[in-house]
């Protein structure tokens, strides 16, 4: 069965979500992945938004985390303080998995979603942290969506918006951050993880039709490719769920 790269990325992310996880979502592909997980791997996962809506019943895809669609039939509609406390608080925070995106990522999973070039006079200005830095600071596991391009995988990010493993092993803790950090980077070419010892990114899976070598050509820094295996494409059932249940209006996919 034919599938698009965005469908592949969505399914790769959905498979990372476990039953019972509390999923911190943005919009777009991250939300579609979280919605798909509820049908596939994690029926008891809970979607929540930084605006304060918890366990929203998403009959339609929200275009923003403040969309009235996240308010419908939620367990509670609070505000920003409640949402971020859910992640900073260890009782609930340890159950949260975050899904983020960025303009740049380095080998330790540090993210830039603020500016390319000089911070004060940027070549390109982006939206800024929003809640991304808070999520990356607080929660034990994060998935990151990226487009695989050289300039998006630089040796050093132009502005460090959201912390990954900072400068390597032990540096999160030394800086004052809670343990945790990114668990997977999902791109249009493959899925990367972080080595338990060195905290450096390595290639775990490449998609059918691409090669580890091609992935390296799309990165400024080198990653270990010796552990890489070919990813399993989305199944017929997974695609059916995406197309018929999650995004029938084709707003995102």
């Amino acid at each position: 069965m034919n599938y698009t790269l965005r469908e592949m990325m969505t399914i790769m992310a959905a498979r990372e979500i476990s039953d019972g996880d509390i999923v911190f979502c943005g919009t777009g592909i991250s939300l579609v992945a979280a919605m798909a997980a509820k049908y596939i791997t994690a029926p008891n996962s809970i979607i929540f938004f930084e605006t304060g809506a918890i366990d929203s019943q998403l009959e339609e895809i929200p275009m923003s985390v403040a969309d009235p669609r996240v308010m419908y039939s939620a367990a509670s509609n609070g505000g920003l303080l409640e949402a971020f406390a859910t992640m900073q608080n260890r009782i609930t925070g340890d159950r949260v998995i975050g899904i983020l995106g960025a303009a740049q990522i380095d080998k330790y999973g540090n993210l830039n979603s603020t500016a390319i070039g000089d911070y004060f006079m940027p070549v390109t200005r982006f939206s800024g942290s929003g809640g991304a830095c808070d999520v990356a600071s607080f929660v034990p596991r994060c998935l990151i969506f990226m487009q695989h391009e050289k300039r998006k995988f630089p040796k050093k990010v132009d502005y460090l918006t959201s912390p990954g493993y900072l400068d390597g092993p032990g540096t999160r803790e030394k800086a004052g951050l809670m343990p945790g950090g990114p668990t997977a980077v999902i791109t249009n070419l493959g899925l990367m993880r972080f080595d338990e010892e060195t905290k450096e990114m390595y290639l775990a899976h490449y998609y059918p039709g691409t090669t580890p070598q091609k992935i390296l050509e799309n990165m400024e820094f080198e990653v270990d490719i010796t552990r890489a295996t070919e990813a399993t494409p989305p199944t017929e059932n997974e695609l059916k769920i995406l197309r018929e249940k999650v995004d029938p209006q084709k707003l995102i996919l």
């Binding site: 919009t27 777009g28 930084e50 605006t51 304060g52 809506a53 009959e59 339609e60 275009m63 923003s64 985390v65 403040a66 969309d67 009235p68 669609r69 996240v70 308010m71 419908y72 509609n77 609070g78 505000g79 920003l80 303080l81 971020f84 900073q88 260890r90 603020t114 500016a115 911070y119 004060f120 006079m121 940027p122 070549v123 390109t124 200005r125 982006f126 939206s127 800024g128 942290s129 929003g130 809640g131 991304a132 830095c133 808070d134 600071s137 607080f138 502005y159 460090l160 918006t161 959201s162 912390p163 900072l166 540096t171 999160r172 803790e173 800086a175 004052g176 951050l177 809670m178 707003l251």
Partner: protein, 325 residues
Amino acid sequence: MSADQGKVMALDEAIRSYVKDGCHISIGGFTLSRNPMAAVYEIIRQRIRGLHCYAHSNGTGVDELVGGGCISKLEIAYGGNAKSAPTCIRFKTAIQRGEIRFEDYTNYQMALRFHAGAMGVPFITTRSSFGTDIVNKWGFSKEMREKDPKIPDNKLVVLDNPFGNWGNASKVILIPAINPDVTIIHVQKADKFGTCRMMGLAYADVDQAKAARNVIVTCEELVDSEELRAQPEFNQIPFIHVSAVVPIPFGAYPTACYRYYDYDPQYLSQHSVFAKNDKLYREYLDKFIFSVKDHQGLLDLVGKVQLEKIKADPRTGYATGLDRK
């Protein structure tokens, strides 16, 4: 202001009274929901200048204030507005051209800063942003801070936990309180004295209001105090915080107002086309803001047919099945 009338005012009068050139301001709502847009457009219409604006993710409203030339300093966590403008376009343009001073925070930090302001404490703590450029890069220099009594002398301060390892934290980040001169919010219901009932998500509106010297409330419906006081547990802001109440149906348009109307995807996507081009954006401001007398004038240009399309379904609180492509 007579006792009968309470604090009810016309919007132009409320803006003229409380929003002055150079004042420190915050607006309620989040990205494309419940922004006080009628008030934002009136600020632009009155050509108020030099505002110092505090924002978490106040997408549509802040972007229009930037585009309208009203803001000169901006403390912000997020300048994005969903699909039609992943980065708010006038915000992006103003920063890339060096037209405004700006400083970046996180959403939690901005929400906490308003909370500290509402509590009357000088700072509050969090464990967010250690080791990042949010701590390391200041948009406002030390020198500028020390000269301006309305800005704290530091951006963020990292402190060793004075309680040892209590709370399993070796360090905390201190973030300074915000007390705006004026906060403007749009709510579903208010009475003439300013008691507010919001529906759906409150974002950080309550703290933004309570932290401010003056608060302008615009509302979909002006209702009797008895109606709100019959269920006080559903009211978020009591009248003691509020300076002015302005009833304006569709006062959040083109952003959404839960249980009343959706955001207008057509207006917002058209807007992003205008916003990308200086000339088109000037023409847009002329047509929709400067050439009309008030918010009703803008709504008349949009037309009843379009407003009917975004009317909320009573079951879901939004316009079910609305074409949002």
